[in-house]
C-alpha cells in the first residue's frame, strides 16, 4: 500500500516535470531534471507506464524515446472546477488550495519577506 503510494507520487513528479518542460524529454533528461539521483531504469519504467495509460505521447529520437504530456479532455472537468470555485462558500472551501487566501496586505508582507530572504547572491 505505502509502496504503491510512493510510486504513485513519483509518477506525478515525472508527469509534472514533463508538463513543466515545454519540450519533449528523454528518460535521461527526466532523471537530470528531477536531480535527486533516481535510477534511470526507475524513470524509464514510470514513463512506460504513463505511456500505456495514455498520459504521455512518445516519439523516437535517435536511439531513445522522447516524451511529451498528452493534453487530455480535461476541458469539461476544468469548467466544472472553475464553476465550483465561482460558487464560493463551501464549494470553494472544499477544494483546498495551495495558497489559501491572499489579501493585498499579505502580498506586501510576502514581497518584504522575499526581499529579506534573498539578498544579492541568494541561497537563502
Amino acid at each position: 500500500m505505502s509502496r504503491r503510494r510512493a510510486s504513485g507520487g513519483l509518477e506525478s513528479e515525472v508527469l509534472a516535470t514533463l508538463w513543466a518542460a515545454e519540450k519533449p524529454l528523454t528518460a535521461g533528461d527526466v532523471v537530470d531534471a528531477l536531480g535527486r539521483g533516481l535510477a534511470y531504469t526507475t524513470v524509464q519504467t514510470i514513463l512506460a507506464r504513463l505511456h500505456v495509460k495514455g498520459a504521455v505521447h512518445r516519439e523516437q529520437v535517435g536511439r531513445a524515446h522522447a516524451y511529451t504530456p498528452v493534453l487530455d479532455e480535461a476541458g469539461l472537468a476544468a469548467n466544472r472546477m472553475r464553476a465550483m470555485l465561482d460558487r464560493g462558500g463551501d464549494h470553494a472551501a472544499v477544494l483546498t488550495r495551495f495558497l489559501g487566501t491572499l489579501t493585498p496586505d499579505e502580498e506586501a508582507t510576502l514581497a518584504n519577506l522575499l526581499a529579506r530572504q534573498r539578498p544579492a547572491g541568494g541561497g537563502g
Binding site: S12, G35, A74, M84, G88, F98
Partner: protein, 306 residues
Amino acid sequence: MYLSVYLPLLFSAVFGLAAPVLARRLPPHVATWLLSVGGLLSAAASSASLALLAFLFLAQNPVLMARGHWSENFLRGHAEYAVPVGALATVAVGLFAARFVRAAARRVTAVRDAYRLAAALPVSGGELAVLDAADRQAFAVPGRPGRIVVTTGLLRSLDAGQRRALLAHERAHLARRHHLHQSVVAVAASVNPLLGQLPAALELSCERWADEDAARVCQRATVADALTLAATGTPLTAPAVVLAAAGGDVATRVVALYAPAPKLVVWRVTLLSVLLAATAVAVALALHDTERLFELAQSAYRTGKR
C-alpha cells in the same frame, strides 16, 4: 444549575477567541484536531445550554405544566432566571436549528460535488491532473480516490524540488482528510456565532499541517520558496473574489517554514483540554439539575393535589 447552564456559552467564547492563536502557535496536526474536536464539543454544549433554557421557558406555559403534572408555583419559584433570557434562548434555538440544517446541507452538496469532480478528472495521469492554464493554481480535490489538480502556469514557475514540495503538500490534504475537519468546523460555527473565527483558524492549521508534511520530503526552505513563488505570481484581481471566502495566511506559513518545526507546548494543550472537559461537565450538571427540578415539581404537584 443557574450558573452551569451558562458556562458552556462562556467556555465557547473563550475557545472561539483562542482559536486563531492556537492555529498559529501549536504544532499544526495538534491544532487541527483540537479545533475540530473542540469546536464540535463546544457547539454541542452551547446548543444543549440554549435548549435547556428554552425548555425551562416553554415549560412554564400553563398547558405544558398541566400535561407534565408539574407544580406551577414550584417551577416559578425555583427556575430562577429572567424570562427574557428564556425567550431569547427559544428564538436562538429556532434560528440556529435552521442555520445548522442549511450549513450541513451546503457542506454535503459541496463534498458530493467535489467527489464527482474527482471522478470526472482524466485518470491517465494517476493522482495528478494537469490543467493547461496560465494562472498559478493548485488544488486537492477530495474523492475516491482524491485528486491533485495543478495548472501548467504553476508547474512551469517552479523547479523540480518545489514541484515535489507542492505535490507532497496537496497529497497531505487528501491523506489527512482535511475536508472532514473543515466540514465539522463549518457546521459547528453555524450553531454558535461565538465560534465564528474557527473556520479561518482551521484553514490555517490545515495548510500548516500540509506544509509540515511537505517539509518531510524536502528542505523547509523549498516548501517556503514554492509557496512564495506561487503566491507572488498569482493575478489577484479576478480570483480575489473567490479567495475572499476563506482566510489562510500565506505570510504566517512562510514565516513558520523559515523557523524550525514547531514543538508541542504541553501547558497550552492541557489548559484547553481542561476547558473542554469543564464544558462537558457543566452541561452534564445542568442536565442533571434540570431533571431534578422537574422531578421535584412533579412531587410538589402531587402534594398540592392531596
